[in-house]
Structures are given as C-alpha cells and as structure tokens.
C-alpha cells in the first residue's frame, strides 16, 4: 500500500462483537483515510451503532483489533480518547445540571477553563437563551444541540455521529449540516450513521454499507 499508516485515521481488522448469542459485528475489516467523511448505512440491527461505539472506544470488541491515528488501540486509551467525539443516542448529560454546568464540567475535566469558548459554542448551537436552565427541561432536539456544542468545544480529530439528524427541527438539521461541513473542511475525519441517505450522500465522500454485522463491500467513493 503506497499510502503509509499515518494517512489512515482508522484501521479495523476482523472486528467482531457479540451480544448474548447474537453477533452484532462479524469479522469487519475496513480502512478509513484521514480527513474523509464516511456515510455509514445499513438496516436496523446491521451493526452501525455498535461499530461507532467501538471506534469511539466506548466499548471493546469481542475479537479483532482497531488502529486509530496510526497506532493500535490497546490499554493506552488516554492517548486516543481526547481526540475522539462520539454522539450516540445516549446524551451523557446530567439532567439536573444546566447546559452551562454540563459544559463547564467537561471543560474542567479536560483541563480547560475557557469560558468564552463555552459561550461561543452555546451561541453557535442556539442554546444561549436556555443555557442556565436544567437539561431536564430541554426538548430532545435541544439536548442534541447541547451534545453538538460539547463536540465543538472538544475539537476532536475523529467525529462519530449516530443518527445526528434525528430529533432535530429543520433549523437544527441545517445547523448540524453546517457543522459537519465545517469540520470536514478543517480536515477532521467523520463517520456519520444515518437513515437519511440523501443528506448523507450530499455531505460525505465515502459510503460504507453494513448488513448483518458485515460490510457489503469496501467503502465506496461518492461521486461529487
């Protein structure tokens, strides 16, 4: 392979994940070049969420190996985790805290104290008027926006999005698309799992289809 490992954001080899007796992922192997935006599709239960969670190091595979940013992911999770952002159905939010407090906690736990950045992120996702109310009072779409703000704050190199357009109103969808394009232009790697295929095709340059835990074929380039 002429391109060296450093150009690969992700390298997945024989990754398998079992839940009870069911294999959610079965011997999945794929390479994702750095800076690409990958559309991940597949029917329900095809393994999209599982794959994203494994790539986000939220979960370890039952078998198989993953290389992130050119090096295998072993026990040195502190190396890769600061560079990842995973947005799934679980919001990781504390319902009794406000948006400000949730973000401030994230900043404090990642050795940052940048109040201006926090306020800018909230402004970007349109949550400034609600920022001081507890998250419990937010709608599902607002919680999604807060997760987006958190992702913007962390400035990750690898962004993993699981159904990012669900639960968002049309303006929220536009916001998400804008942020995705921004991040892509900045050279970050994105993997977006969505059923909204048309939108995905417009945003991404690679298409990876999963079925029953395996890839249908290698990631296909999307015609511009």
């Amino acid at each position: 392979m002429s391109s060296g490992n450093t150009q690969l954001a992700i390298r997945v080899r024989d990754v398998s994940k079992r839940y009870g007796r069911r294999w959610a992922l079965a011997r999945l192997s794929v390479d994702i070049p750095q800076g690409s935006a990958v559309l991940l599709t597949g029917e329900n239960g095809a393994g999209k969420t599982t794959l994203l969670r494994i790539l986000g190091t939220a979960m370890r595979p039952t078998y198989g190996t993953i290389d992130l940013f050119g090096a295998p992911v072993g026990d040195d999770l502190e190396r890769v985790r600061p560079r990842l952002s995973l947005m799934t159905h679980a919001s990781y939010l504390y319902e009794d805290l406000s948006a400000h407090e949730n973000l401030r906690m994230v900043q404090r736990l990642t050795a940052s104290a940048d109040r201006a950045a926090r306020e800018a992120a909230l402004e970007r996702v349109g949550l400034t008027p609600h920022a001081h109310r507890p998250v419990r009072t937010y709608s599902a779409g607002m919680k999604r926006r807060l997760c987006l703000a958190r992702m913007i704050l962390r400035q990750p190199d690898l962004i993993l999005l699981d159904e990012p357009f669900g639960q968002l109103d049309p303006r929220g969808v536009t916001l998400m698309e804008d942020v995705i394009r921004e991040q892509h232009r900045a050279g970050r790697t994105l993997i977006i799992a969505t059923h909204d295929v048309d939108r995905g095709l417009a945003l991404c340059d690679l298409h990876l289809e999963l079925s029953a835990g395996r890839q249908m074929r290698a990631p296909q380039p999307i015609a511009a």
Binding site: W23, R27, Q215
Partner: protein, 230 residues
Amino acid sequence: MRRVLDFGLPAMAFGLLIIGGVVGLAIAPPERDMGDVYRIIYVHVPAALGALIAYTTTLVASLVYLFKSSWAADAIAESSAEVGVVLNGMLLITGSIWGRPTWGVWWTWDPRLTTAAIMFFAFVGYLALRRFVDAPEKRATWASVVAIIVYVDIPIVWFSVRWWNSLHQLQSSPNTIPDPMMKLALRLNAFALLFFFLWFTRQRYRIARTRQRVELMEPPALAPAMGGTP
C-alpha cells in the same frame, strides 16, 4: 487422564469416607467430657477445611481471570464457589447440631462459626451476582472483583468477631483432639471431603465450560460471496 479422574475421584472419596466413618464412629473412643456427641467433629472440621480450600480456589481463579482473561479460570471460580457454599452450609448445620446438646442452644456466637455464617452470606451474594448478570465478560469480571473483596474480608471478619465475642461468654466449637485414633479419623474424613470437593467441582466445572462454549461462540466465518477482507 479423564477416565482416571472420572473414576478415581469418587472412588477415593467414597473409599476414604467409608474407612473414615468406621474409624470415626466405631473405633475412636468417646471423648472425655462430651461422650459420643463430639463425633460430629468428623464432618464439621473437614467441611470447614473444604470450604476454606474452595473459597481460596475461587480467589485464585478470579485473580487469574482478571490478569489473563482465562475462561477456564472463570469456570473454576464459579464451580469452586458453589461447592464451597455447600460445604459452608454443612459447616454451619453441623456446628448448630453440635451446639444443641452441648450448650442447649441452636446457635452460639463462637468466632469461627460466626465468621463462617458471614462468609456463607458473602459467597451466596457472589453466586447471586453471577445469576443476575447476563453478559459473560461483565459477569466474569464483576464476579472476580467481588470474590477478591469478599476474600480479603475473611481475616477482618475473623478478628472483629473474636474481639466482639471475647466480651461475652465464650462458647466454643469442638476443639481438642488428643487421641491418635481421633486424629486418624479426622484426617481420613478430611481427605474424603477433599476428594468430594474435587469431584463435585470438576463436574460443575464441566457444566460451566459447556455453557461457556454455547455463550462464547467464535464469530461466523466470512462466506466467500462477501468481499472485503484482505
């Protein structure tokens, strides 16, 4: 090898039990103070030894699982704990039976018996945890953690109960064994119970391994029609 164990373990167990039973019940003389009641010691003490060996096995197997992720170790930990709980139960029941004619009560707060009672509940908790967790990896990891925490508690429990009880009247379990025939009976029965422990644990281990084989299947091989793997 398998056949030797399959036949040999129960043969040794029953053999030693019969000989030990004869020596213990018929040949060894009655105790000076307690008469024939003391003979329950021939079950009580071996059960205690067996339970301790069983729990220690669970601890070691749990450590092995945590460091080596060995499924065989997890199966050993599970089987050994189950047999250990049974032996622990026998220990408590025989202790209670001994106490009744001797002290007139069904339960004494003897430090050893009390520690055994606490350990019984602690390891029943361990088994309950295994029942209530479905994912095999989590079950094995959490069970190993709990086994370590429980085992470390044993000496602490022992000391605290001893101190606690020393302030009250000490009613102790059967203790002194002067006569050589008694010693022999005790040793025979101890080894008999040890072989029972090994035999039962081994059988239970096989069941655990079979279950693991069902739960931990290899991922299905890729069919040639699906491309993608280099």
